[in-house]
Symmetry: C2
Subunit: 371 residues, 2 copies
């Protein structure tokens, strides 16, 4: 009956999309399980917080499920109101998204034309790079320097290429390293005057508060992104936010998916912000875990890169060794990641799990290394 339709022409894709490669930023652990037929027992490869969520958030989210037939508030008013109170900023300096990943796409779309240059570290966050490619902008990269984002080189590259945007994760992923407010201020002074700094602060709650860059949202050259996926343990809820000058927020409001932030996530985020005790507990527990990983690395003759996040990158000295260890751990049901780009691919990136998870990981790593 529809044969003549089936034989008809396929409508052409937009040229940008037609030319994109079929890549995904991350293969999920579920797909690794399906491909291998192996079940993951210890999931410490995606920096999810195995310390879970605040009991207040748990309660709020369970209640929200009973009202899930209502759309969430597209203005995320109550959550922005709470964030404004906590950060002592204005509500119109905040936009909520379904995770930083969505916000990165919106920010790229709001600022970049096809062909525009963007600067980032070589081996930086793949999802940002995915969005840059997806909107036709061109990524220029600078190598890490001692596993630190090389601020001087990033600024120089931005000047050299006339970049419209620099992406910087601070604390960094996948290395865990951190630049202080002082270093970032110097860095911004060196950027071209019309270049935007996209500062991804997904892990900021784990960094020393006294050294983090203060919020100055009157500065129209910086956007900060934050998330409930890490310290608050809500990765599966998909909620994050961006902080920026009002006119930038207004621009993102022109293109964002207004009803895209789900009701359960909004309820959980509001409750999470109110549980400062839980936040302190997770930050403290993670700091202890980082110390354990450092000692473990030392014991095995490896180097733990000093981390200001909820994971530790352990430099095992060579990329083949890192890959082999990752595979052997996976055989034992332990999921960690190894970054794909040199020299980061010498590192095991391991999420700080619970004490029990760390014990199992440590034992497995020792076994694997001794074999």
């Amino acid at each position: 009956m529809q044969k003549n339709l089936t034989n008809s022409t396929r409508p052409p894709f937009a040229s940008l999309v037609r030319e994109l490669p079929s890549v995904v930023p991350f293969v999920p652990p579920e797909a690794l399980e399906r491909q291998s037929g192996k079940k993951i027992q210890i999931r410490i490869g995606a920096n999810e917080s195995t310390f879970g969520i605040s009991p207040l958030a748990q309660k709020a989210m369970a209640e929200a499920v009973t009202e899930i037939h209502w759309y969430g508030d597209s203005e995320c008013y109550d959550l922005r109101s709470e964030l404004a109170r906590i950060h002592q900023i204005r509500m119109d300096e905040i936009v909520i998204g379904s995770g930083i990943d969505e916000l990165l796409g919106l920010i790229v779309r709001a600022f970049l034309e096809p062909g525009d240059r963007v600067v980032s570290s070589l081996g930086g966050y793949p999802t940002f790079n995915y969005h840059v490619a997806g909107f036709g902008a061109k990524l220029e990269t600078v190598p890490y320097q001692n596993f630190m984002n090389d601020l001087d080189a990033l600024a120089a590259k931005a000047v050299e290429t006339g970049a419209r945007m620099v992406y910087l994760a601070n604390p960094d992923n996948p290395t865990g390293t951190f630049h202080s407010a002082r270093a970032l201020e110097k860095f911004m002074d060196k950027l071209p005057k019309d270049c935007l700094l996209l500062l991804d602060e997904a892990y900021i709650e784990f960094a020393p508060a006294a050294e983090t860059l203060p919020l100055d949202l009157e500065n129209p050259r910086i956007i900060r992104t934050r998330t409930f996926s890490k310290v608050y343990g809500m990765a599966g809820a998909r909620i994050g936010y961006a902080l920026a000058e009002q006119e930038i927020i207004r621009a993102i409001d022109k293109i964002r998916n207004h009803f895209g932030v789900n009701r359960v996530a909004q309820a959980g985020a509001i409750a999470s912000l109110q549980d400062t005790e839980f936040l302190r507990h997770v930050v403290q527990a993670v700091a202890e875990g980082r110390k354990e990983y450092e000692q473990l690395a030392k014991k095995l003759g490896f180097t733990a890169i000093p981390s200001h996040t909820n994971f530790v990158a352990i430099d095992v000295g060579c990329d083949q060794k890192a890959a082999a260890i990752r595979e052997a751990l996976f055989e034992k049901g332990i999921f960690i990641r190894v970054p794909q780009v040199a020299p980061l691919n010498r590192c095991l990136r391991v999420t700080v799990g619970t004490p029990e998870e760390r014990r199992i990981f440590a034992q497995a790593l020792e076994e694997v290394v001794s074999e």
Copy 2:
């Protein structure tokens, strides 16, 4: 300390975004409450299902909250697997999004270049129009004919303008009217051979199954979008899907936000699909409610437009009257919507609520009309 930064240039927005107006597709009921200071008691204005969700979905979602610290599967494998089974199609003919709204944006982005023509009915879904504008395409519209999408006129407009895409909601929103498979097949024959039909089937479960267009996903000229927001009662969870030929799905996979679909929504959607009894119950209950609204309209001298959805558009004869009734109902704590574009703005669009909600609405409407 950062004064010199504050005074620096604002990085320019992308030209497309700079030129967009600051409009939102829908003002949420929560904002109406905040603006008016009035509390909504009966929320029957956004076609949310007040019949709630399946008990199986409720259970699955509550469990998912306890695992919310894990990201959801970015491949949505289990959900696609279940959908493939139910629709008897292939998994790679399905893509999951955080609601149809997100998918509409992705489809527009995948197919349209700035300046490309798109055809839709005048007064059709505002969120689709929002995405069309957001990616720089140009909307061409055709008036409704007796509150039906005018298929002949839509096809003629597509031919006349060389449109690359036609958007059609079937069953329609905001009118509730429906075109049979036979009518749609004739329609597709009249479209330009390289024009994509974006068939939004958000309300398809409420339409007569025997008359709905069969799935033929080898046809590369049609994409169908569906949702868990309506009959399944999961609007606040943000999850929907698109069905299309594999190569189209692959293109959307190149640009979608891979970890964007939250874990709670995925769990709830899978469970919802398994509860066919609940589905039948809601469809039946909504059909009863539609009849009540028809009788109510008749009693008051209005015309209920025959609906194949979970709402009824009641034509009160004049736009000022419709606006006045909407306002008076809002004063009584009842939230309905009146479409903004003529001649649809003569209609009250009322979601089919529970028997109790319908009783309160009927009483309020009678009072308002008699005043």
